[in-house]
Symmetry: C2
Subunit: 371 residues, 2 copies
């Protein structure tokens, strides 16, 4: 049965359960307080000041962002100690320099020599130095120097030896946890990444580079940390504040923990092809997941008999997983609640999120967009 507050919402709409958000944030904070590791939450999933406030426990310090638009947005909202966790893009060096000069701590990420040259070409003013993290690729296969490649140590040494630049830490993203199923596999990847980073730090110590920070992250690995992660300085998960169907399938969370929904209304009955139409197309859900769930592009809450088969821009086709639809169960105008496959992708489609608690809408959050 849909909560009372939903009936006045115009659909499609992204709703956020504030109590679940707070619980997810608190669980993650307490988990790493317990391990003595700094949590540096990633903002890319929600991109809102309000959710950042919850994730940082009100400190407004120590966050990760995926775009400079986010960095500027959070700086404008009083945030500091912002890590731009993206291979330094050469068209954005000036904007990074300005943020470095404006904030007390702005961190950039580097995984190649040319990026270091770009930083040298733009020395910082105001007595600042570039705070640089070396991006290490510990078997994830996206950005970063492979941890086993001798170039990684060479680049770390070059960064550390460059005037005006400080080697702040070693950063690895274990995105390879996204192909895991269950805690055992997640922990194996978390262990491998942690070990790789710590061994790399030891190699640097042996050549006189000490006092570096270290950070690994991903929502699966930080939802089920291994003991050795206590030897890291920081972790940087992000999606956990919302979670989603994908995370529940990986084993990061239960479906109960997922804090976001797309509410949609039934706009048509088409018995001749045994289908409903709903007012949620890919503009409200995204195509993420490719419709490969047994229930299609999302899970339709409370209706395991339904599948979101396909979407066009503003329409979603819903059918029965088997047998004939009983259309009387889904009257025209009635609400269905979709649990998104990937919360980051779904949230990115919405100019506004509706926040609810105890069955009431409390207000809206407005994310930043662009780059």
């Amino acid at each position: 049965m849909a909560a009372e507050y939903t009936k006045d919402l115009s659909t499609p709409v992204l709703t956020v359960d504030l109590d679940k958000v707070k619980r997810n944030a608190k669980d993650m904070r307490e988990r790493f307080e317990g391990l003595g590791v700094q949590l540096r939450p990633h903002m890319k999933t929600h991109k809102t000041a309000e959710c950042a406030d919850i994730m940082t426990g009100g400190s407004k310090r120590c966050i990760v962002v995926s775009t400079l638009a986010e960095a500027s947005f959070f700086a404008d909202h009083g945030y500091d100690d912002i890590l731009y966790a993206y291979p330094l893009p050469f068209d954005k060096v000036q904007r990074c320099a300005e943020l470095s000069e404006r904030l007390s701590l702005f961190h950039v990420l580097v995984d190649n020599d040319t990026a270091l040259e770009e930083l040298k070409r733009r020395p910082l003013n105001k007595g600042k130095v570039w705070n640089v993290w070396l991006k290490l690729d510990c078997n994830n296969g996206r950005a970063g120097v492979p941890n086993s490649n001798p170039k990684a140590q060479k680049l770390a040494q070059d960064i550390a030896a460059t005037p005006g630049v400080e080697l702040t830490g070693i950063y690895a993203h274990c995105g390879n946890t996204y192909v895991c199923q269950g805690q055992e596999q997640i922990k194996a990847v978390a262990q491998e990444t942690t070990t790789s980073v710590l061994q790399f730090m030891e190699k640097l110590k042996a050549v006189g580079i000490q006092g570096l920070k270290s950070s690994i992250g991903s929502t699966p690995s930080c939802s089920h940390p291994v003991a050795d992660m206590a030897m890291l300085s920081e972790v940087h998960p992000g999606n956990y504040v919302f979670y989603d169907v994908q995370q529940s399938l990986i084993g990061s969370c239960s479906l109960e923990d997922v804090a976001v929904r797309v509410l949609t209304r039934v706009i048509g009955h088409y018995p001749q092809r045994n289908q409903l139409l709903v007012d949620c197309g890919w503009t409200a859900l995204s195509h993420d997941g490719g419709g490969r769930l047994p229930t299609g592009y999302a899970i339709i809450e409370g209706h395991p008999e339904l599948k979101l088969l396909s979407m066009t821009q503003e329409h979603g086709r819903v059918e029965a997983i088997s047998g004939q639809l009983d259309f009387t169960k889904y009257p025209l105008g009635s609400l269905l609640s979709l649990i998104p496959y990937h919360a980051c992708a779904t949230a990115s489609m919405h100019p506004l999120y509706y926040i609810h608690s105890n069955g009431k809408i409390l207000g809206t959050w407005t994310p930043t967009r662009g780059w």
Copy 2:
């Protein structure tokens, strides 16, 4: 070789070739002027006032929208005669009523009895009547009453007989042209849809319902109209103003006609896995097309040897279609130009479009979003 103007653009960015937009708009306008059919262009692809102005030839009249956010946006920009081509959503009747009372012509779409009841429950003020189009499904399989279903005629008669409501026309979308390959198949669908609509109009005439408008649309069918479409009152294509890879594969256009690009920069070389990274993830391109092109999620202009293999939120993995990448051809920081698979989906990811002509950036267009 990338145009000079591109070098100062921060990436990822959506660029629009104004000359191609004007040519695509003019071709479509002239095509239907030649047939004596009113062009009612769809705004859903771009959602900007500037592009609407080009598509309507400056008249600011006679458009189709997919959301009420678009309807309000265009009304605020001085547009009128707006058709909201979406099965009337019951949570938006009041907003539709206000637009009907505010504009000289605002049209809604109905495909079921309950929607008609909803309109009756909210009679219009200011001496207005509801302008209602009956949505017919001519073998497309999305919204609409199937043209062969006796309910279609019954609903048309009920609408026509309802006080305060005017049956304005019959509307069909031939989205089934999207599975066509080549003009012959496109024309077969266009012919079938046109014939179905015209035969349905004849049936209505036989029961005394005359003077209705008729409209069919889709970019493929309107790029290659059949002669009988001259017997329709209107057509309502939209994507044609940008076109995209999908339309070129269907046969609606050539790749040369595609007016939009996502510009992206190389941010990493990863020889150990024979891959580049670019700064275009799904936030800049969308997942539309599912990566099923031989070149993956897009066509990389001027580089038939490259494939956009996969994307995460802000990263794109590019690899060679065969053999080893010659990394010297794609220096770090250099630009690649992506031709989107689906322009509607890609444009929907961008808060701003950059408009260029004759190798110069002329300015930006800001689309409306939401519902």
